[in-house]
Amino acid sequence: MKGGQSRVGIVSYGAYVPRLRIKAEEIARVWGHDAHMGDALNIQQKSVPSPDEDVATMSVEAARIAVERAGIAARRIGAIFVGSESHPYAVKPTGTIVAEALGAGPFVQMADFEFACKAGTAAVQACMGLAVSKLVDLGLAIGADTSQGAPGDALEYSASAGAAAIVVGREPSEFCAEINYTTSYTTDTPDFWRREGQKYPSHGERFTGTPAFFKHVAAAGERVFSEMGTTPEDYDYAVFHQPNGKFPKMVGKKLGFRDEQVALGLLAPRIGNTYSAAVLLGLANVLDAAKPGDRIFVAGYGSGAGSDAFDLTVSPGIAKIRGRGVPTVEDFVRSDEFLDDATYAKYRGKIQVPSGGAT
């Protein structure tokens, strides 16, 4: 890690995306919107959780894959941070459920994180600090969400579900990718929020663009370049938070990346905005394909607002954790199980039922 002898990296990773999808054109049909809304957002379809799935279940699935991929003994995990804006409980940690399901702990540091869509990358940074300082052997950072948009709101096209788990450690021989540097750019910018007890979020519509997403991601990205002495051409891949399918390409262009560098880490057109999971799922998709020595630029974004940016180099260890029969991101992204809008509304608790409604 820059500025010291200590090294820190990603030891393993896991992804999970529910198999159900709804098409943008189906949402547009029901709400009387332009049939090309999906094209405008570059989101053709989005993932939908089953009634029995939530942030805890998806976090467990992603974490189990991460642990299985690298053959990690659960007792080595000394910290678990789950980042989400849709934790199943307002009060009661999601992380305890993940730890029990993995067989990790009880000696484990834990807290649930919330920072809109960047709680997952914030969890990665917390794990980096604990691993480098030798307070823990391995840290498990998870970004997961089952986000909701108000019926008929523009968020209906994007708010989806997914989870990504990143295991962070300090032993270079275990790295599948070394984290060379991380930085955060954070200001008090109210572009998107959800008040206590409210089911659906509110947002500042176009205010979510220039002064929010673009300003913060660009500022964090420029700092990576200046601190690391790099230019966009030094990176093989660039992964961004993806509230829709067009913002990552636009901010990539603004920073100087070509569309080809952004393409592999861009999943929003096929699964929508998985919020806290989005940028980490994009990174996981890149790690599924990257070669040792490849350099990866990563910039998450969370409304409120902040951006966490990372500079990574893929390690030789990536070869050791491939081909273990563990599913890739593409295995989850690929799905043709489409719902109609009425079933989607039923599953997402948008229809009032006497009992057993989804959350």
Binding site: D52, D54, A56, E100, A101, G103, G356
Partner: protein
């Protein structure tokens, strides 16, 4: 179900932690403190056994009249799954079209919400099963769906194979 009772059973419900008799090698789920085969000879010899979570559907039914809390999932599949270790467990099979489930279908454990104590109550999580992920669904496994093999490991005892409803 009360919260303390569920809490006691979390290791088995969350990650299929069973029990093994070190006297006869019998494997049990839910875990037992005494082996029904060896009885007193098994005392002190029962150890925890982490089950693989992989198995095949032995029998199934499609539920159209749901249990409380399952209304949104109708129609859904309940099955008796024979695990690789030989013991049997009753559980829901998810991520499938009900008509596509048949005897011999390879399945694996997944972690899902089972039910909740109303809007203010605790959420109960636990195991369900889903078809084996296609990355591991090689030709050999695909063939076994077409021609299911008879059960190679008969249940060790009625108690050991008692279906467990979540």
């Amino acid at each position: 179900m009360t919260v303390p009772r569920f809490w006691r059973e979390q290791p088995q419900r969350y990650r299929l932690l069973g029990a093994e008799c070190n006297n006869c090698g019998g494997i049990y789920f839910p875990p037992r403190t005494v082996c029904p085969e060896c009885r007193r000879e098994s005392i002190g010899k029962m150890v925890q056994r982490q089950l693989s979570g992989r198995g095949t559907v032995l029998a199934h039914t499609v539920v159209h009249q749901p249990a409380d809390g399952f209304e949104l999932q109708v129609p859904y599949v309940m099955a008796i799954v024979e695990l690789e270790e030989g013991c049997r467990v009753m559980a829901q099979v998810v991520d499938v079209v009900p008509g596509s489930v048949g005897t011999g279908l390879p399945v694996e454990m997944t972690f899902r919400r089972i039910r909740e104590d109303g809007r203010n109550g605790v959420i109960y999580y636990g195991y369900k099963f889903r078809p084996m992920r296609h990355t591991t669904l090689d030709k050999r496994v695909a063939n076994s769906i077409a021609s299911p093999k008879p059960s190679s490991t008969p249940p060790r005892s009625p108690a050991g194979s008692r279906p467990r409803r979540s």
